[in-house]
């Protein structure tokens, strides 16, 4: 089904990554020196999770003539924004700096990517918003980056990855959530791995498709980590967005966690109400990919989830999850579509409700979204 009216908020799209050369102007002297003299600038920082020529990574009609998965701003307008008449698109730049072990280098490159995003994307296209890329494996440096960028209210969330060093609910990551909550930023966990661990508890699958499928189990583990560690008790204003997760795994997690909680409650006594309630309040999921074979099945699954507040519209451009403009599943009511396209994203991202959003460059004033 096509998007029936204009004004949607696309909560997950992926512009082309800047090449190293494009990042050099945004780096401090030392890092520019290191990248050039160590030939690091010859690398493109592509994540293993998204091999550029894999069918999942890009729909054929969204590929660039060069074969690159995504294109420049013109391509984003032509492919991701205009066909769906989206009013806003949130950019998740999946740059591999996060996979570097050197925390300082990762932090420097993340900052460069964020600055590049602000100048090259946000300044030039008023419909775009972005995530703050951070070196998660150094919570202190991640917080520094959030603090550095947060004043630019076109950044609406902090981007983390579904498979990383440690489960993200753990206390050592809490400074990141404190900073996000303070600045009205959501936390987005996006599909993808830095492969610090095997993707499964029994080791390393042979095929990329298995790794991708395993991402949904990573989301389950991460969400359960947030619940068990009490992140939502500690940060009651925090919203968690699960991006590119598949969605239909959710009811099982709600049921199982609520049931087990009743028997293990004394272990985690800060969980003060059924986990299903906590999830419905704090957690959101982007739409694509949607692991449901038809509208009827999706309708039943949404009933199992028990909330119409949780889904956020997304195209996941340029990843190949649907054909043509048929981004919406069949069978959704008009009210459900409206919630999905506009209301749920607005509820999730307070910064989208700003009357005006200024870059620290004194860039264009943004129209009120409503």
């Amino acid at each position: 089904m096509k998007v029936p009216f204009a004004g949607a908020i696309d909560c997950d799209l992926h512009p082309a990554m800047p090449g190293a050369a494009a990042l050099l102007p945004y780096l401090a002297d030392y890092w520019r020196d290191q990248l050039v003299n160590r030939h690091i600038d010859k690398y493109s920082f592509v994540l293993t999770s998204y091999p550029p020529h894999s069918p999942l990574s890009a729909r054929p009609d969204w590929r660039q003539p060069s074969g690159a998965p995504a294109g420049d701003l013109d391509a984003i307008r032509r492919h991701a924004l205009d066909p769906f008449r989206s009013r806003i698109g949130i950019c998740n730049v999946l740059h591999g700096a996060v996979a570097l072990f050197n925390e300082d280098m990762a932090a420097a490159l993340c900052a460069a990517v964020n600055d590049w995003t602000a100048r090259e994307l946000l300044d030039r296209e008023p419909r775009l918003r972005a995530s703050i890329l951070v070196p998660t494996h150094s919570p202190a440096l991640a917080v520094d980056e959030i603090e550095r960028v947060a004043a630019d209210r076109r950044f609406v969330q902090v981007l983390l990855f579904a498979m990383g060093d440690m489960l993200l609910g753990r206390r050592l990551y809490w400074p990141i959530y404190a900073a996000a909550e303070k600045h009205g930023l959501a936390i987005a966990i996006h599909a993808g791995s830095t492969y610090r661990h095997a993707p499964t508890p029994s080791g390393w699958p042979a095929h990329r498709v298995e790794d991708y499928i395993a991402q949904s189990t990573a989301f389950e583990s991460q969400l359960l980590s947030f619940l068990a560690e009490g992140v939502f008790q500690k940060f009651p204003a925090l919203k968690l967005v699960l991006s590119e997760s598949g969605v239909t795994w959710l009811p099982t997690l709600l049921w199982r966690t609520s049931k087990t909680w009743r028997g293990v409650r004394p272990e985690v006594p800060w969980i003060d109400r059924p986990p299903g309630e906590i999830v419905r309040e704090h957690v959101r999921l982007t739409l694509q990919p949607l692991d449901a074979p038809d509208g009827e099945t999706l309708a039943r699954t949404l009933e199992h989830i028990g909330s119409d507040r949780m889904l956020l519209f997304s195209t996941d451009y340029p990843h190949w999850h649907f054909d043509g403009d048929d981004v919406l599943p069949d069978g959704l009511s008009a009210a459900a579509v409206r919630r999905l396209l506009i209301d749920n994203p607005l509820d999730t991202y307070p910064r989208l409700r700003d009357g005006a959003a200024m870059s620290d460059n004194g860039g264009q004033k943004q129209e009120a979204v409503r």
Partner: protein, 365 residues
């Protein structure tokens, strides 16, 4: 002694096949009669060599009674070690017509020393027969084999193949490589040849990897859940490595790993198989078809959605002929057959889940 209320219900004619019962050793020395002297000494001197930080203890302590029902402790020995109590507390009052034994510990599945693992495997298989199956004909053993030593596993399977008191082959889904890996294929070939299902019971001991893709959980609440995500990954591996394509007669039972996740995983596998078929040309059909044809799921620990009828949706999607009732006696998250369904299955659905599906799979009369 109190008269258990359930006697009245049991005499109402419910008979079940319980697809997950855990026997236990009365003492650590129970295996000794079945072990060669060299390994008796090894067991005493060195013990098991497992992939965990604590010895004889779990790093996520259970909430009570070592993870057992508090009322399942016999006079002597741990829960599950006293056949008489198992009979009076569970088999008799719950109308158990057949019970599938799942002996998880000291069977070699998790043992790092593969020579010791082989000895343990043979011993535990002998022990199951002597201690439980011979005195209690309702019970069936499982051929416990160390999956990391496929050659030995095949030999042990073949040694037991003619003994129909062994209903299936037990390997660990927390293996060192995903179970679809071809180094495990000789085990599947042997299983197919001797017409026994492969039983994948969730395993508390690591095969060398953290229980989530981002490392280790903090709380038991999480570790308990990790059994279900691991089982999903294992099933994905079996499908995408082409195990079901290569062994069309293979049957797999997924035990205590949950089942409510199965439809969503099947949809997810189908969707991404479509997109990525070029990578896996040996997977000739949609993954959901392989799952439908080759896999069975046990019920415990059953989900309890706020709206009980939602679980009927899930079972409908999986297939009412694919689910088999289990209690997990004597563990704490035990499902009681009188109370397991919070919605009302039809009589036919109940018969299938409580009895007929398991009888068909295991060839029980």
């Amino acid at each position: 002694m109190n008269v258990p209320l359930r006697h009245a219900a049991a005499s109402a004619g419910l008979t079940i096949v319980d697809c997950d019962i855990h026997p236990a050793y009365r003492t650590p020395q129970d295996l000794h009669p079945f072990l060669p002297a060299r390994w008796r000494e090894h067991m005493t001197t060195f013990g098991e060599h497992l992939r965990q930080g604590l010895s004889g203890q779990l790093a996520w302590p259970r909430m009570m009674a070592a993870g057992m029902r508090l009322d399942s402790f016999p006079e002597q020995g741990p829960p599950g070690s006293d056949l008489k109590l198992m009979q009076t507390q569970h088999l008799d009052p719950n109308g158990v017509e057949y019970g599938m034994l799942m002996q998880l510990s000291r069977g070699g599945m998790e043992e790092r020393n593969l020579d010791f693992a082989a000895a343990l495997s043979g011993a535990v298989n002998d022990w199951q027969l002597e201690a439980f199956v011979k005195p209690e004909p309702r019970l069936r053993a499982g051929i416990v084999v160390p999956q990391e030593d496929a050659a030995f596993a095949v030999s042990e399977i073949e040694r037991r193949a003619d003994d129909r008191r062994f209903a299936q082959i037990l390997i660990s889904p927390r293996s060192s490589d995903p179970l679809g890996h071809r180094r495990y294929w000789p085990i599947y070939e042997a299983a197919q040849r001797c017409d026994r299902p492969i039983a994948l019971h969730v395993q508390g001991f690591s095969g060398g990897h953290a229980s989530t893709p981002s490392g280790w959980p903090t709380y038991y609440l999480q570790e308990h859940y990790a059994a279900t995500t691991g089982m999903q990954n294992t099933l994905t591996s079996l499908v995408f490595e082409g195990v079901f394509e290569r062994f069309p007669g293979l049957k797999v039972v997924l035990i205590e790993g949950g089942f409510a996740w199965a439809p969503a995983l099947a949809w997810r596998m189908d969707k991404h198989w479509e997109r990525m078929r070029q990578e896996v040309p040996h997977v000739k059909r949609p993954p959901s078809e392989y799952v439908r044809e080759h896999c069975w799921f046990t019920t415990q620990p059953i989900e309890e959605p706020e709206t009980p009828a939602h679980l009927a949706d899930i079972i409908g999607w999986i297939g009412w002929d694919r689910l088999m009732f289990s209690t997990d006696y004597p563990h704490w998250d035990f499902d009681d057959p009188q109370h397991v369904f919070k919605f009302q299955p039809t009589e036919e659905q109940k018969q299938k889940i409580f009895r007929d599906n398991a009888k068909a799979l295991y060839g029980l009369q």
